[in-house]
Subunit: 190 residues, 2 copies
């Protein structure tokens, strides 16, 4: 009767993690959200909550990787590629009201198993943007900092949007991202 596939379960858990964080989400909450008994959850995920988190991180990586690859496809102009990527980020973060899995999992007790994966993924994200900026003529050292700042702006905008309840901040960060990467207006620091 209450039959939910693995994907559906993970989707529900993702929503809960993004809203309540890893430690703030209990198996009881997951059970309630998925309409599945707790025992059923352990049937699909014998490793329990940790396995769910790990699979979600893997899912996150699977979402990012092909899109970061797509950024390197030289068939279309760089600005356009970034804009496409940003619009995908927009729908991925559902407009900004919901939190980010990165942020949700960055907070937590030390034995957080998946920190390395998160770090690697974020570095992958940054370096993809940096590479793109560099190929567009931005000096190498500046390209790296631009990419870092761009990702920081997006993540920060997501957080601020959530706290003050105004998603336009996140929307603006998406729009400004291309200029942060390529714009000539950026001051270099000594």
């Amino acid at each position: 009767m209450a039959t939910a596939s693995r994907q559906e379960i993970l989707q529900a858990v993702l929503e809960l993690f993004r809203e309540c964080g890893y430690e703030g989400t209990s198996m009881a909450m997951i059970s309630e959200r998925t309409k599945l008994g707790k025992a059923s959850l352990y049937h699909h995920f014998p490793g329990g909550k940790e396995q769910m988190r790990d699979e979600l991180v893997k899912l996150l990586a699977d979402w990012f990787r092909p899109r970061l690859e797509q950024l390197k496809d030289d068939a279309t102009p760089p600005r356009g590629r970034v804009k496409v990527f940003m619009s995908e980020l927009d729908s991925f973060f559902e407009g900004g009201q919901r939190g980010c899995l990165f942020a949700a999992l960055a907070v937590g007790t030390a034995e957080n198993g998946c920190r390395i994966e998160l770090k690697d993924l974020m570095n992958l994200w940054i370096s993809a943007l940096a590479e793109l900026a560099e190929k567009s003529g931005v000096p190498a050292n500046d390209a790296q900092t631009r990419a870092e700042d761009c990702v920081a702006q997006l993540e920060g905008a997501l957080l601020v949007s959530r706290i003050v309840g105004d998603k336009s901040i996140f929307k603006r960060a998406l729009r400004q991202a291309p200029d942060m990467l390529f714009g000539s207006s950026r001051q270099l620091e000594s």
Copy 2:
């Protein structure tokens, strides 16, 4: 002997919250960190963990408010004032490796009592920067977005610094903040 004052307890709890989040921090952890029995903690904070959180938010506000007021002091040039504020932010966030209480408390279950206070405080922060930018000649509507983006950049840089383990990202956000607020290089959007 182990007479930890309220301030010392709150300081320890602050560190734990910033590192592990609100739900990720247990009273047992607080007890261990402060070397105080749980009963002692409840003697100082009859309201338990919630009261600690609320008092920490109040402490956060008490830290911010005078410094935001100081931003409005027209005795010194605006850029200098912002730089001073940023260096204070630097020591407040201890160079960037530690997380932010805003971010730590933004994640959590819905009945999060202090969300309104956090929202108001962040709005206060933003509007103080916006007012400063406006007084320095930035058009009013642009000043608001600059301030929002500036705060987002700082919070995001803090998060990214923590995840990838490179505090230079946060340091750079501090340095670039004045330009984000006042710089003429920023593109307006249609």
